[in-house]
């Protein structure tokens, strides 16, 4: 039931925020802040209570309510580690989104926060829905407020960007709807029970051809959302035109819904078809990595550059998803979170700069380290995260993904790895153009304010945490991933098992080995 309340809370908060504008101009901000904060706390509570207790099934909470019985549509929500992680991410970024809008958004404050909260509600719905009709429902619901966010509070080309975003996602979404219906009827004709329930549909046996087409239907939606080259061209416009909060949510969350869809639906629903398609998918991923990186390198609009980096980073996601092994999928999950943070952070940075300079053009920047060292340090961390420096979350993500991908396909992995070099190129370009060199225009650039530090600092801390001790996250995701992979454990050969001697390594049994080697181990005190 709590899951339902999460969503309802956000929806209600949104409405309230809209109305509240009449009472006081900044009332909506506080309401939004409170709402998101409380849902964040609620989710953390979930983690503490249920996340800790390992159950035999991966599902922590489930909620089943009849909705449209005639069609076998149920209002069924369920929470597993994956959803929980993504919810945490959602609300964390949501919180930041509210905070960064504090100064940036000055007109139609109420309506803005209404949209913001409804987007969050839609996204959380997507992460929780376990009924395909409901899933599609939320999938669409999250678009409209996002459309408003871009279209009303965006930058100069906002309407174009908003259209593009809406049309792309809508088109792909409808294809998914077709696939859902197809699945629904096939399952219905097989079993006689017509239902959209995820768990029911999981055990549908599909003819290869049907499976392939249905999978493409689902892929259409997810690959566009992810996005994968060549379906990415909505993203740079949407990201660069949206207000900062919008960009953060787009990059941090909306893209993740695509990745989530792949993990949650495509993998378990079409085990055979995906295996056939895997090489192509991985190829797409690699193309995305390289193509995005190249495009990112050439951009002069800071937000556009960051947008293309997301294209590049999301390439790792699809690469990993279609490697079908735990390393890769753990990497993907890490990537979803780490990228959500790092790219969100970069967009926030761009927002800070835009607030001060009213431009996103990097040629008009430079030498800001002198005037704003704090911002410089933050930027450095964010940039390093995006080029995958070890010690920060993205490294774990990318390394695991690549390790996993390597088991599946060597050459593609090699090319993906080359992406890291290109990533270095474009990431350092940001530092160079914005913070290094001389501040020729003599722009006065006040350093980060307290509020801004409040936004930036937690991200840095989280990135470091993810980079140095990701185990909690991995543990949380692990059962979910195992479950998504069930169908594949035979399908994909395991890594060439290490020679038996390695049995004595993990650390627990180190000592024997070290005795043998006349070595001395010391416990960390």
């Amino acid at each position: 039931m709590i899951l339902l309340w999460l969503i309802v809370l956000l929806l209600a908060g949104g409405l309230l925020a809209w109305i509240a504008q009449r009472w006081h101009p900044s009332a909506p901000r506080w309401i939004a802040l409170f709402t998101v904060l409380s849902s964040l706390l609620l989710t953390m509570l979930l983690w503490v209570n249920d996340g800790a207790s390992p159950t035999d099934t991966a599902w922590l909470i489930r909620l089943e309510q009849p909705w449209i019985p005639q069609w076998g549509v149920g209002f069924s929500l369920a929470l597993d580690g994956l959803s929980l992680l993504l919810l945490l991410l959602t609300f964390f970024l949501g919180l930041l989104a509210v905070l960064i809008s504090w100064r940036e958004i000055q007109h139609k404050v109420g309506f803005f926060h209404f949209n913001l909260l409804w987007v969050l509600a839609g996204i959380s719905g997507v992460f929780l829905a376990m009924d395909l009709f409901l899933f599609y429902f939320f999938w669409e619901v999250m678009l409209i407020p996002m459309y408003f966010l871009i279209g009303i509070w965006g930058h100069e080309k906002k309407r174009y960007a908003a259209y593009k975003f809406f049309l792309f996602t809508q088109a792909s979404g409808l294809l998914m709807l077709l696939a859902i219906l197809g699945l629904y009827f096939i399952h219905g004709n097989q079993t006689g029970t017509y239902t959209f329930n995820y768990f029911e549909l999981l055990n549908t046996t599909l003819a290869p051809v049907a499976a392939r087409w249905l999978m493409f239907g689902f892929l259409a939606a997810f690959l566009v959302k992810l996005p994968v080259v060549p379906f990415h061209s909505w993203l740079p416009d949407a990201h660069s035109q949206a207000p900062t909060a919008g960009s953060v949510i787009l990059a941090g969350l909306l893209l993740k819904t695509g990745a989530y869809g792949l993990l949650r639906f495509v993998l378990p629903l079409f085990p055979t078809a995906t295996v056939e398609f895997a090489p192509w998918a991985m190829l797409l991923g690699v193309i995305g990595i390289l193509y995005g990186a190249i495009l990112a390198y050439s951009q002069t609009d800071l937000k556009r550059l960051v947008a293309y980096t997301s294209v590049s980073h999301m390439g790792f996601v699809i690469l990993g998803v279609f490697a079908f092994n735990e390393w890769a999928l753990q990497g993907v999950v890490m990537q979803m979170i780490a990228h959500g943070l790092s790219t969100g952070a970069l967009f926030i940075l761009a927002g800070f700069l835009y607030e001060r300079l009213h431009t996103r053009d990097m040629n008009k920047m430079g030498g800001f380290w002198t005037t704003a060292p704090k911002m410089g340090v933050m930027a450095l961390v964010f940039v390093m995260a995006s080029l995958g420096l070890p010690g920060l979350g993205n490294f774990i993500a990318e390394f695991l993904t690549l390790v996993g991908a390597w088991q599946a396909n060597n050459w593609l992995t090699v090319f993906a790895t080359i992406g890291l070099v290109l990533a270095t190129a474009y990431s350092l370009r940001i530092m160079q153009k914005v913070f290094l060199e001389r501040n020729l225009k003599q722009q006065v650039l006040p350093d980060l304010t307290f509020r801004e530090m409040l936004i930036a600092a937690p991200m840095v801390v989280l990135m470091l945490w993810l980079g140095l001790y990701p185990q909690p996250v991995l543990d949380l995701a692990q059962p979910a991933i195992k479950q998504q992979l069930q169908a594949y454990t035979p399908a994909v050969p395991a890594v060439t098992s290490p020679a038996p001697q390695t049995a004595f390594y993990p650390p627990a049994t180190d000592s024997t080995y070290f005795q043998k080697m006349k070595g001395e181990t010391y416990e960390f005190k």
């Binding site: 069609w71 009303i152 049309l167 219906l181």
Partner: protein
């Protein structure tokens, strides 16, 4: 004709009486309010009489009429829509100095015509219903005599409608000539005995399709739609878009189901072509259009195309899908034109996109309702339009009409563009010039606003919890439908 028959025909009778009373009252004392009240009451009464018909079984009044669940349901939605439209019309005409009263007379009559259409199971009743509907419409369209656009629309509609009904008649004649009867069921049996369609019969059907297609405003008989929509007063436009099309669609379904036209590839092919063409042409025409009424006209063409997809599914699910979609579509269309009507002033209707600039900030609530309506037309969740479209898609997928389904999808994307274009205009910054258009008298404003609010709530209601409506449709249609499903 026994009392039972009269009981079953009660709605029609009530409407007729309503019309007559209107005439009498007008002749003694012209008063907008009173006439309006009479109209509303008669429609309510007619609807009320339906309610207790729900319980009675299907009833044949040979040879002309049949009252079954299908008929009752369609009459129901037609009457309710007409009622809503009359409410909007009151607000609309109150601020215009024309002779308002006859309008309601005509409104009732055309409603009557539509009802007759959905009841009829015989060419004669079909023809009568159709003509009652049409002739009243000619006048309604051209009702605002001061506007030349209005009667330009009237003329165009008159000539074209007469022209197409000539086709319809000739077609009926041919069918009659080859079948020897004008009763649907009998025709079906005749075809069955003849074992297939004779050329004469086919030609007849073909020509009838022209007539029907014209009323539905599907490609290639759609060309009148934009001009008439634009010319007619907003409420009348709403009426054309809903009641007249709905009535015709009801008839089409009944006739086709009776004669089981789906067995004949030629007919299926024709309708498929029409459906695909309507979707594409309608949406593409609307794409860059800057006149809201015309946009809605073109989108209505496309929507008829969508409906035909479900129609071509040709099974129970299809009919239910159509019915559901029709309900959503009625609500949406009435709502949309209601908004247009409300924003219109004495001189002209608010039909240019520029009239809507910044509406979201000038009149948030109105704009929100309009947004809801547009999103419903676009088939976005939280609105009835989504469920309707979903249902149609389901029907299509179920029968495996992949071509049509994919076309539908492509088109709903194209369609999305111009719907959100209107929305985008609404949330632009209002420029000082288009500040608050002439306000209505508060009472009326509240009245029409209330109506619209109810519509919006209904729309969202069936969008979020369609179960109730689905049940209703299922029970009413299935329980004692004589519409023969394959």
């Amino acid at each position: 004709m026994n009392s039972n028959d009269f009981l079953h025909l009660m709605p029609l009778l009530i409407l007729t009486f309503g019309a007559i009373i209107n005439m009498l009252v007008i002749s003694v004392w012209r008063n907008h309010k009173i006439i309006y009240v009479i109209t509303a009451l008669s429609m309510l009464a007619a609807f009320g009489s339906l309610l207790e018909q729900r319980t009675l079984g299907p009833h044949h009044i040979d040879p002309l009429f049949i009252i079954d669940g299908f008929a009752v349901f369609y009459m129901g939605i037609i009457l309710l829509t007409a009622l809503l439209i009359s409410m909007l019309s009151y607000a609309y005409f109150e601020q215009r100095e024309e002779q308002k009263e006859e309008y309601y007379l005509l409104l009732i009559l055309s409603t009557l015509g539509a009802c007759v259409l959905v009841l009829s199971k015989h060419f004669a009743s079909l023809f009568l219903g159709l003509e009652i509907l049409s002739v009243a419409l000619y006048a309604l369209i051209a009702y605002l005599r001061k506007r030349e656009r209005s009667d330009e629309g009237g003329i165009k509609y008159l000539i074209l409608a007469a022209f197409s009904s000539a086709f319809l008649l000739f077609g009926m004649a041919l069918v009659y000539a080859s079948a020897g009867t004008m009763e649907f069921a009998a025709i079906a049996t005749a075809i069955a005995s003849a074992g297939g369609l004779s050329l004469l019969m086919l030609t007849g059907f073909g020509m009838m399709i022209v007539g029907v297609g014209f009323k539905l405003g599907v490609v290639p008989f759609h060309m009148w739609t934009p001009d008439v929509y634009e010319g007619a007063p907003a409420p009348v436009t709403a009426f054309i878009a809903t009641v007249s099309k709905g009535g015709m669609l009801g008839l089409l379904i009944r006739f086709f189901m009776e004669v089981d036209g789906f067995r004949y590839p030629a007919l299926v092919l024709i309708f498929t072509i029409i459906a695909v063409a309507s979707m594409f042409v309608g949406n593409l025409l609307a794409l860059m259009q800057r006149n809201v009424k015309r946009i809605l006209a073109y989108s209505s063409i496309a929507h008829m195309g969508y409906l035909l997809v479900a129609f071509l599914a040709g099974n129970e699910m299809g009919v239910q899908a159509i019915t559901f979609y029709l309900v959503a579509y009625f609500i949406t269309t009435v709502g949309a034109f209601g908004i247009v009507a409300m924003l219109s002033d004495k001189v002209r209707d608010a039909e240019l996109l520029s009239d809507y600039k910044g509406l979201l900030w000038r009149r948030p609530w109105t704009a929100t309702i309009f947004t809801a309506m547009l999103l419903s037309l676009a088939g976005i969740p939280l609105t009835g339009g989504f469920v309707g479209k979903f249902y149609i898609l389901a029907a299509g997928v179920n029968t495996g009409l992949w071509l049509l389904v994919v076309t539908l999808i492509i088109n709903s994307v194209i369609g999305l563009y111009y719907y959100i274009k209107i929305i985008a205009v609404m949330f632009q910054q209002p420029d000082a010039a288009t500040e608050a258009t002439a306000r209505l008298r508060p009472a009326i404003y509240v009245a029409s606003m209330g109506t619209l609010t109810i519509l919006a709530l209904l729309l969202v209601g069936i969008g979020i919890y369609p179960t109730a409506l689905l049940n209703l449709i299922a029970t009413v249609l299935d329980s004692y439908s004589t519409v023969a499903f394959r």
